[in-house]
């Protein structure tokens, strides 16, 4: 009986299904200039309370971890109270060293990453910081390890970040010693086990880059400041005979695992290298 009942409704069901599929295809075919405002409206309206819920949950989680850490510190502090003056001096010194934001001084906005469940979620991230906190379009987004991407869409309370894994991502790059320049772009999941990698393209044929060379942003193009670590050269990906070389680069910052990021709002001609610890210190 029930099976027959379902079949009687199948014509209307098929019609609804085809309409939904057609609408999905239309949405996929929309130009980016239409898609982004549409997505922005949804994020600011229907999804706003849910994103706020996710943000509070993330903050609660972080607060709990901080609380546990503080309890440990309190116990340690009670034990070491007799050495208070020395501890105070050491604390001051560590406070001066810790934290990417503090190293950068001014011109940064910290933000939580609101991860999603889809397989393409590492390509674009939604972060909980927007125009109200000074985030601008194309501002570089970094983690303590290095460059994560650039801001693509800015809304009052949230922003969308195009990460280095996105096929459209490009950044001018150079070897840390300035000997080689090129353009960094996503190489997709071309690493072992589908590992996301980057490519350093456009390196002149006569120049070679040794494995393990640190690649940083070059600051050319007026978008991303100079000196932000990107990755480490792994291998040669391709050689355009007599013309240019392409190198595979292992990125330092991983979009899928990062929980908090920093949006840089410093001028594009600034030098951001002082915000990042030397490579040896990071490893």
């Amino acid at each position: 009986m029930a099976l027959e009942a379902d079949r009687t409704g199948s014509r209307a069901d098929t019609f609804l299904f085809l309409v939904c599929v057609s609408l999905s295809l239309v949405v996929m075919a929309l130009p980016v200039s239409w898609r982004d405002p549409m997505a922005g409206v949804l994020r600011r309206s229907v999804l706003a309370p849910l994103l706020m819920l996710q943000e509070q949950s993330t903050q609660f989680q972080a607060s709990r971890a901080v609380f546990v850490e503080l309890e440990r510190q309190r116990d340690s502090a009670a034990l070491a109270a007799t050495f208070l003056p020395a501890l105070r001096a050491e604390n001051e010194r560590l406070r001066g060293l810790l934290g990417l934001g503090e190293r950068l001084g001014v011109g940064y906005v910290p933000a939580e990453v609101l991860h999603q469940a889809e397989p393409t979620s590492p390509l674009t991230l939604v972060i909980r910081a927007g125009g109200r906190r000074g985030v601008r379009r194309l501002a570089p987004v970094v983690s303590p390890e290095g460059l994560l991407g650039t801001v693509d869409e800015v809304e009052p309370r949230t922003s969308t970040v195009v990460t280095w894994a996105h096929p459209d991502f490009r950044a001018s790059a150079m070897a840390a010693d300035g000997s080689v320049y090129g353009i960094v772009a996503s190489a997709g999941g071309s690493g072992p086990g589908g590992l996301w990698l980057l490519e350093l393209r456009g390196v002149p044929y006569r120049q070679t880059v040794a494995q393990g060379t640190l690649i940083v942003t070059a600051g050319l193009g007026g978008v991303i400041p100079r000196g932000i670590p990107i990755g480490v050269v792994m291998d040669t990906a391709a050689v355009e005979s007599g013309w240019e070389r392409t190198y595979l680069v292992r990125p330092l910052a991983q979009p899928a695992s990062v929980g908090h990021v920093v949006v840089l709002v410093i001028p594009a001609d600034a030098d951001a290298s002082r915000g990042f610890a030397p490579r040896d210190a990071r490893q």
Binding site: M1, A2, L3, E4, A5, D6, R7, T8, G9, S10, D13, T14, F15, L16, F17, C20, V21, L23, S24, L25, V26, V27, M28, A29, L30, R35, D36, A39, L42, R43, V46, L47, L50, L51, L53, Q54, S57, T58, Q61, L114, H115, Q116, A117, E118, P119, T120, L123, T124, V126, D152, T160, H166, G188, G189, S190, G191, G193, G194, A256, S257
Partner: protein, 165 residues
């Protein structure tokens, strides 16, 4: 459906939506953690007609696309397919037992991820293979486990209710 059943079902769906934005972030493997929103869609689609499942899937997919603009539209397409096929599968296979529902949840999650990965065109080569053969099946398993757990805890009342003429 009784009014009491409808209310309980709505509460369950609301709880799954809240879990997606609160509990899910606490799982260690973010990419293989259960997808509570997809589970809510499938629980709804199992009880509803295929057309209603498709519409619900389209709307849910569109909302999720707003959070992952790299694949805008492909989420709507994927969730439409999952919503429709879950409702249709219920009619064809008459899935009233927990194991069959668990299989629906697993296949639905894998299918959603596969359609998003293929339709968006942003995953290629090894990454695509890894997504289809490793990450998506694992997420399908965790989602199915949660779905089956819910059906067992609630003694099957969220499961399929055939329409009677």
């Amino acid at each position: 459906m009784k009014r009491e059943d409808r209310v309980r079902f709505a509460v369950l769906l609301a709880a799954l939506v809240i879990a997606q934005f609160t509990v899910r972030g606490r799982f260690a493997g973010e990419r293989i953690a259960p997808d509570f929103l997809l589970l809510a869609l499938q629980l709804y689609a199992i009880r509803a007609e295929p057309g209603a499942g498709a519409v619900a899937g389209f709307l849910l997919g569109l909302l999720r696309d707003a959070l992952t603009p790299a694949s805008f539209g492909s989420g709507a397409l994927a969730h439409t397919l999952v919503g429709y096929l879950t409702g249709w599968g219920k009619a064809v296979f008459f899935a009233e037992n927990v194991i069959a529902n668990g299989a629906f949840f697993f296949i639905g999650t894998w299918l959603r991820n596969a359609v998003v990965a293929l339709a968006s065109g942003t995953l290629r080569d090894d990454r695509l293979i890894h997504e289809l053969l490793v990450t998506s099946p694992l997420q399908g398993l965790t989602t199915a486990a949660v779905g089956v757990g819910l059906l067992l805890v609630f003694r099957g009342w969220p499961a399929v209710r055939p329409r009677v003429l």
